[in-house]
Subunit: 362 residues, 2 copies
């Protein structure tokens, strides 16, 4: 088992990474300071893992709340339901929530913990690769508003993260592969060594071999923890974690959040941002080729989906700009392992990038 | 004009106190870092002050949102409505909310600012004495759940507080007097000098004479700011601000939050907590007499309301205890100007106190 600390002073917390962790009572004993917890999970994860977690929580007063699976559940009404249950069962300020699931469960449970009586503890038990390497770490919690994703939220750090990598073997192929996009992202923005490791171990990775799962989750968590420790509330550095996401969100929104998974859109977004970095004269053609190659080989998209118009992508990308009343910021690459957040890019390269990939849609 | 700083490192902010401040453009210029603001207010305050604030905000892109007056508006639906407006008008992370009103408006607006895009700035323009001396300062924000007040909330500090004491002269007598309870509270828990000043200036105070208004608001804000700077999230010292509130909440709840104003219940709660402090052998009979006398002279209640049963009060007081799964804590006095938060009180004195005041109901 590996242990990585997210260093945030008095709010520091551990991420435990390893095989079969959810069955180990001592993990929970280490993390819990209360005898009263409520596990929030979805109907899919419930069937696979809930009873195992409850068994390991032997001796603790465990309540559970199961919601249907899906992003549509991530809203204020779902939060209000959980709060009703907490009040009915007299949960106090020292009690604890446990998020058992993917990003939707983690975001919803975390935001509820942030708001209940102005903030109680919560633990993350992420059950997808995306959640294990990204969303469960760093305290970004939120629910959706009908006009925008994650528009209602808080920075509220968990009290601990339990990343049981054996769970990753039960994921559908596409969901697992989607999570690899965020792993590749860490290599691209700040960890050339990780990127090279990924290039050399594609087969073990797609086979979900135990050591390679542990390695990529550990390295990803370490990168995320370092960034969050330096810039918890995204004043600067943390924005580099959005590499590929501005293009990616435009794709997701353009598709109405259907057909493509988040990681797939991010992967395509990373290819586009890399292409634009080449046009800027920052990234070499050789690095671009390596990025394109790795993303393609793990099975992530390297071309835009049909149904998307070039103008749509540009318009959707500028939503952020309009909202902030300022100049659009993009995360671009200076090299593999070195990202920058900048407003100083050439506007025409942005359109050129979109047109280039749009023209390649078959 | 007086200026008091709430010292919270990078989140420090000023409280401006004086006559006619809401009309002064330079106050807003000092505090605002954005050209896009939304004022949230209620229908009563709107008629009296909204146009004056908008006029002073000359040159700023001002949106407004007016809700009906009343505690019932302090809920998640009202927050969601404000967020819809913010999104429709493309408010970004650098925009700002302004809470123009009493505690309900401040709490609702502050919590909305805490959650919108994981936190934006907000200003407080408190229009009641209670809000000027207490609720607008210190970053406690919340909305109510149908099962409990302030159960959904956040610690989110404002970017500045504008306490225009001339507004206090427009308040109904009972609302003004209710606010004095919190002023007296600061004297009792940590400021003997303020308490003595109040004893000597009751007439100027009840006449709402300009200098005395400025003095009590300033001294109250200074006390609150000092406590919040030491213990922002109520791990210890800040709990002394709840002096009189455990008894007070029991009274408010027992009355279904009708008939009595918050400050009236707190005043009676302070008398009860003081009485219990005497039983503990901590507070002198003479100090008790001074407390009883000051509270009575300013026109606040010194006996329990009819309709309340002795057992009800005890039961309602123990709700906190059941929720926290621990021993009940109370704020009691060692002397005028010295409060302690303690679990180490004699249980029988609590019942004795309730019975004593219950027997005096006429």
């Amino acid at each position: 088992m590996q242990k990585i600390i997210v260093e945030l002073g008095s709010r520091s917390y551990p991420i435990f990474i390893g095989e079969g962790l959810i069955d180990k009572p001592e993990i929970y004993t280490t993390l819990l300071k209360t005898k009263q917890v409520m596990i929030v999970t979805d109907a899919v994860v419930e069937k696979l893992y809930l009873s195992r977690v409850i068994e390991a929580l032997n001796g603790v007063d465990v309540y559970k709340h199961v919601i249907p699976a899906g992003e549509i559940q991530k809203n204020l009404e779902s939060m209000n339901e959980i709060i009703t249950l907490l009040l009915k069962n007299r949960f106090g300020r020292t009690s604890c929530l446990i998020a058992l699931g993917g990003g939707v469960i983690g975001d919803l449970t975390g935001f509820t913990a942030a708001c209940y009586q102005r903030g109680i503890n919560f633990l993350q038990i992420p059950t997808t690769l995306l959640a294990q390497v990204d969303s469960s770490i760093g305290g970004k919690t939120a629910v959706n508003h009908k006009m925008g994703k994650n528009m209602i939220g808080a920075f509220h750090q968990p009290h601990g993260v339990i990343a049981d990598v054996s769970i990753l073997r039960s994921l559908p192929d596409r969901e697992y592969t989607s999570g690899l996009a965020e792993v590749i992202k860490y290599g691209l923005i700040r960890d050339h060594k990780l990127f090279m490791w990924l290039e050399e171990h594609i087969e073990e990775l797609t086979d979900r071999e135990s050591d390679s799962l542990s390695y990529v989750v550990e390295q990803s968590c370490r990168n995320k923890a370092e960034v969050v420790a330096i810039d918890e509330t995204e004043k600067g550095l943390r924005a580099t974690l959005n590499f590929g996401h501005t293009f990616g969100h435009a794709i997701e929104t353009g598709l109405g959040y259907k057909y493509w998974l988040h990681g797939e859109a991010v992967a395509m977004g990373m290819i586009m941002a890399s292409h634009m970095s080449v046009l800027q004269g920052w990234l070499s053609d050789n690095d671009m080729e390596r990025i394109h190659s790795l993303i393609s080989k793990v099975g992530l998209p390297n071309q835009l989906p049909q149904l998307l118009h070039s103008k749509d992508i540009r318009d959707l990308m500028s939503i952020d700009k309009k909202i902030s009343h300022g100049r659009q910021k993009l995360v671009l690459l200076k090299a593999i392992g070195e990202a920058i957040v900048t407003e100083n890019f050439q506007e025409s390269f942005l359109q050129e990038t979109i047109d280039f990939f749009h023209s390649k849609i078959r």
